[in-house]
Amino acid sequence: MSPIERIPFTCTLDCGSRCELVAVVEDGRLVRIDTPPREDSPERPRLIPCVRGRAHRALVNARERVGTPLKRIGPRGSGRFAPIPWEEALDEIAGRLQELATRQAHRALLHITGAGAISGRGFSGASASHRFFSFWGPVTVTVGNMSNHCAGVAAQWMLGGQVPSSDRATLLDARLILLWGNNPAETHMAPNTAHFIAGARDRGARVILIDPRYTDSAILADEWVPIRPGTDAALAAAMAYVMETEGLVDRAFLETHTLGYAPYRDYLLGARDGQPKTPQWAEAITGVSAETTTRLAREYATVKPACLLPGWGPQRTLYGEQAARAFITLACMSGNVGLRGGGVASVGMRGGPSLAGLPRGPWGPARSLSAVSWAAEVLAGRVRPPLEMAYIVASNVINRTPNTLANIAALERIGYVVVHDPYLTPTALYADLVLPIRTDLERTDLVTSWGHDQHLFYSAQAISPPDEAQTDYWIFSRLAERLGFGRAYTQGRDEATWVDALLAQTAFDREALKREGLLRWEGEPRVELADFRADPQAHPLDTPSGRIELANPQATLYGLPIVAEYVPIAPPAGGRYPLQLITPHSEVRSNSCLAANPWLQEVEPQEIWINRLDAEARGISPRDWVEVTSPTGTVRVRAKVTERIMPGVVCLPEGAWFRPGADGVDEGGCANVLTSLQTTPTGGVATHTAWVEVKRSAR
């Protein structure tokens, strides 16, 4: 019998977790994925991978896998490619780059990176490509945060920046948890979050889910409060109104630790607009009954410790800043800030361990475009001088960015497009050259916790790649050689020696890390802002006052109210799009990664959720094919007719791959076909603000 090896690795998806996996390899062949049989305790639980990590075996050899460099031989998007040798591909790219460099036209190159296939802090993906272009010249890049931009803005204005959040283990101490637009059972945003919430409930905590959808996280909750998308700041205001008028506000905390409550109080009481923000006022906006809102307010204000744990969905709306600001405001009014089991209801990330990525060379970018709305800039002809080449690394940009069709149109304006990816993604279909990349199982890298823990992973290469797939570092090393800065780029190092060089800058035990695959951070669970709560003078925040600032003059520069007022969103005129669309993360994908995994698509086929009442009104039966149309495009997909979503709201999880049918209608279920390039006042993504109509389809 041939020896069986168990090789520790970690899944490098940009999912919100980082987990321990084992590749079981026999004769160089991956036979299964497993987990290490480690101890598991309530306070120090194992980092158990979710269904996404467990399905790796079906992904490595997925039908869409790219094995050799591919050169386009048909029209863009046609999927007609011919395999070419690496030398030819590298020579072609180097020639293009040299031609731009000769004209000093570096800025005509748009460098787009994402987290596809590669997330973490090693030398793969963006780490390798940013280093390359920092030696080559000043290019154009896209910048912006597609995940939690508005929460970050609120943190900047109110807390002086992101504060390291409590460790999720402290949820065990909460007596009330408000999961507000938060779906940890499916997103796995921070390892074991759902496990800790279940644990808190088993210790007697009450858990309330506030969400337009009865998600799988509803199993963790005692109560589901459905709410209309984009109205979170109104519910928060009405809760705040109850707290204010019933004397439930923690005035001592507001007085010693915050500044600027008075204008919010004026807003609540209607001092300026004559409209008190009563639960009855909110009911017409949020769809949450006045009775429920009142009860929620009393409960959150009186049960201690209570943790308002917002997800990032509410702030991915057109005025997402207001939702994010309202959560922090409410947390301050309740007095739960700085308590173990409480929280400030901000971004909610702790930050990973300190590990430098590959160092950068002399050049920074010449200019930057918004990662959310770059396509609008290109299509409007506002990018001058125009872009001539796009270099896309680890990013399925047309799929993951709002308004897929506009992204395609923008990409088609760019003369030459290179894509690095393990898979022939919808974006790769629009490339002139696709370079095959190794997956996490096929390369060695250092990977940090995603952003909530302080662990460091050594993810060892477990199997050989299919055909000729290579790492991003390998490719850029060879391009750098051709362009005359090979030595500067590599410093004579291969990937293994880079691992050691990066590790040498840390205090981690190199040998133990390589043996175990993981070094866990050990220590008492951190409690967010505990020191600030204990002594705000000694531990001031980075705000002008050192306190939490509930009124933010900066907001008015963007046309936003000075406090966390609800700003209404007007539906499109004409009534053609009566249903609100939300496009949350799916439990079977990490954004658009894993859409090519057949096992996972069987676990949760792509469907649009529609309430039975909305379906009946449109003659739609369960599993019917329907066409979902927004002002930006149409998707043909099956209907999930369910009681688990609010009437008037439909849900198409994001990340399924764009696949246009013969009539141009997307049959892959790509949610961003339906979303718009409109951004929030501060430039955030607003993908949960969309309106559609749904009708039965002939298919």
Partner: protein
């Protein structure tokens, strides 16, 4: 060996199907076959939907109907007390599939009847079965039966399958919560 129980907590199972995929990954079965499935039932009306996810696999029953039904003694009890298929004895008659009250035995287009082997090889190493180790919610447990009692804030859910055949499973639910 001490008799064991699969303890499956409906109050923790979020229906993520990690166990299903982990089992599939280990078992290497033919197309459409599975040893473990998650049955999801949705009931109730908005705004009070009721959702139950129930993990089902062979529960290695004490009075296993499949063993009794098999005409060729292709189903046997092994030294660990697990019910196993002896592939070469199977004549593909389907009697075991019919007899199993849990729908836990599958018969594909070819090959013998197939079902959960209890991860006998993993138990032999002192590990818990794959599905139990795979569960991010710790909704699945594999415990010694004599010492086991329902934990606080849980009651037994006996709404699923006949108890008379002695399935080595205990479903738990929160008091007042929906069963199957």
């Amino acid at each position: 060996m001490t008799p064991h129980l699969y303890v499956i907590d409906l109050g923790r199972c979020t229906g993520c199907r990690t166990c299903e995929v982990a089992c599939r990954d280990r078992a290497h079965l033919g197309e459409g076959l599975a040893w473990l499935r998650v049955e999801t039932t949705e009931a109730g009306q908005y705004p009070h939907p009721r959702v139950v996810h129930r993990v089902v696999h062979c529960f290695h029953c004490a009075q296993a109907p499949c063993i009794a039904a098999c005409p060729t003694e292709a189903l046997v009890r092994d030294a660990l007390g697990l019910v196993q298929v002896v592939g070469e004895r199977c004549v593909r008659c389907g009697a075991c599939v019919e007899a199993c009250p849990f729908g836990a035995i599958a018969l594909g287009d070819e090959g013998p009847a197939t079902k959960c082997d209890g991860c006998a090889d993993e138990l032999a190493q002192g590990w818990e079965p794959t599905c139990v180790r795979a569960c991010p919610m710790r909704a699945l447990r594999y415990v010694e039966e004599p010492a086991w009692a329902p934990p606080p804030r849980r009651v037994l859910d006996e709404s699923f399958g006949p108890q008379a055949v002695g399935p080595a499973v205990r479903y738990l639910k929160r008091p007042g919560a929906e069963g199957g």
